[in-house]
Symmetry: C2
Subunit: 356 residues, 2 copies
């Protein structure tokens, strides 16, 4: 991996010393940091060195024009909550190092001229296992099972990335984390066509205490609507090349738009969730029949990837779906009186999820 | 309304007499029927008369070439289940008169050169009340509430047309009826651009004992995916002009594709259904926020049409949604141990549905 050359200009030398020490402890193999408290020395260094990201304390009078065009720039501020100073990006100095690092990555991804292939050359698409969770009926708790599966796999030591592509989804139901940005920023970066997408994704990924990394949902469903065929393929290709993850879990709405067709294609396993009641089961069967048509049209296997899981299964009315050779992996009854996160954590302990 | 000129050629004179009598009793103002048991007389009649639909017994040797190009033709057969004879359409003689009538209408709609405006000139778009049922989360029983509302309005004497545009919907969950064809046929007719859409719809409409008329769902969700912006507008315009109905109830998936945007636009009332649980409520709020953005973009009011209804509401965890001035119209708890049709019939007795 190429190291990001970071330069910081700040008159607070004590801060600079501490910051460099913490950064080197955590990200020595990813960032090479050069600190300056004096503008003249900084300008001299810039003459002979190609710098990727430049952070400048807001009280220092520095002329940004001396920077190379593909050098990322942000003001380095005392306030944590500030995002912009004089129309340029701003990063709070007194945040957790992980949050500062992700913003440095973000600046680099938007300005760097490196191509994805140079940075993530090692990742092979076929290495990655992609689980796609969907529901034909909605409201059957497919997001809960997707979150629970992520938690269970993470506990077993897998490196998990969870992505929610639902139009109206919300990762906060299941995962808490700090950090900036969400899928809307990623879609914007893909569409603007001038960012390093792999680094952009890395900068947007949030970590949780349960060991699952995730990308926050879009701010508005209108952003997902605007994803084109081409965009989703760039997104998926880049995800598959990320070397940091062994398994990707995608939670998405069922549709027959381009985005879904691309997901059907890339998924190693498609888990359809039903509550076992008549309406949800009938819709699931209609979906399986549609998969049968699509696989004939596209001449690529689809039904053999499908597994059926049950959530909110009540023994009184609920029945299992029988459809050709499609496997049921089991399920869980309805949990009452708990918030979604607690329910997902309980389901994460259930062995049937090992069959996804 | 223009009368359809129907001609029947069949050697069974007793059948012809009975058929004419039944047809005239039920459809005198819609069909003018001329019966012949002899080919020569039939051919003579065709010289001087413009015939819209021609039915010919399959054992009679008749040369179809003498018919005008826009005359609908079908064989009139003894078997009920037959659809085609020698590559031409076939209609079973011994079916209920309503089913034969709808197939005659269908033939007329596909071949007639009348434009919709000539036949349905009286209907005004603004007369019609359109209820759109949707759910942000799915699986909250929005189809059940849509069906129950249709039943309740029909009981009160309204002329109701129920249409299910869900990708994976199934009218049979709520309504039983005989008859041919479904929405897929209608979409095909709209796309082929050579049918009278109002008559095509009339020919596809099925009647139920509970007083609700409905259009059967698509055979495959792939047919709904293929609906273009233009097609859905033709469909909606024609529905609004149908004089036989006072209220139209549409059950659809939430999406942000063209089809949904057209439906948002045409709906007089949009009923969003939630089960009151956290995930469904959060998704509903995200949907309401999106409606807020769309109404600003399009400069047409949207949020003021929205009402929230609850189904499967369990008093233990469920909560009502609070969002600006959007009204809740009430709801019903979960019904256990009954099939969807029974549940819809029970809910149809509940007064809160009067607020939709």
């Amino acid at each position: 991996m190429i190291k990001i050359k970071l330069m910081i200009l700040d008159s607070d030398e004590i801060y600079l010393e501490r910051f460099t020490s913490v950064l080197n402890t955590k990200y020595q193999d990813k960032i090479e940091v050069h600190c300056f408290s004096n503008v003249q020395y900084a300008n001299l260094f810039l003459v002979d060195n190609k710098v990727d990201v430049f952070l400048c304390a807001e009280n220092i009078n520095f002329d940004k024009k001396v920077l190379m065009p593909n050098c990322g720039f942000a003001y380095f501020c005392d306030k944590k909550s500030i995002n912009q100073v004089d129309g340029a990006k701003a990063i709070g100095k007194y945040q957790k190092i992980e949050l500062i690092y992700s913003q440095i990555l973000d600046l680099f991804s938007e300005n760097s001229s490196y191509k994805v292939s140079e940075i993530e050359a090692k990742g092979l698409a076929s290495d990655k296992f992609v689980y796609l969770f969907m529901s034909a009926a909605g409201g059957t708790g497919s997001s809960t099972l997707a979150a629970a599966s992520s938690m269970r796999l993470a506990k077993k030591g897998e490196k998990i990335l969870y992505i929610n592509l639902e139009l109206l989804g919300d990762c906060k139901e299941f995962f808490v984390s700090e950090g900036h940005g969400n899928l809307s920023d990623l879609i914007y970066a893909i569409k603007s066509n001038n960012a390093n997408i792999a680094l952009k994704i890395e900068s947007l990924i949030k970590n949780t205490k349960v060991g699952v990394d995730f990308l926050e949902c879009c701010s508005s469903p209108l952003d997902i609507r605007d994803i084109k065929d081409k965009d989703i393929n760039i997104l998926i290709d880049t995800l598959l090349k990320l070397t940091s993850y062994t398994k990707i879990i995608i939670d998405a709405d069922f549709s027959l738009q381009d985005i879904s067709l691309s997901l059907f294609n890339v998924a190693s396993s498609i888990i359809l969730v039903s509550d076992g009641e008549k309406i949800a089961n009938d819709k699931t069967i209609k979906l399986l029949e549609t998969f049968g048509i699509i696989e004939k049209q596209n001449k690529t296997p689809l039904l053999q990837k499908v597994k059926i899981a049950y959530n909110k299964f009540s023994s009184k009315n609920a029945q299992q779906i029988v459809f050709d050779d499609v496997k049921s992996i089991g399920g869980t009854p309805r949990f009452d009186g708990a918030v979604p996160m607690q329910i997902a954590e309980q389901i994460a302990n259930m062995a049937f999820l090992d069959n996804i």
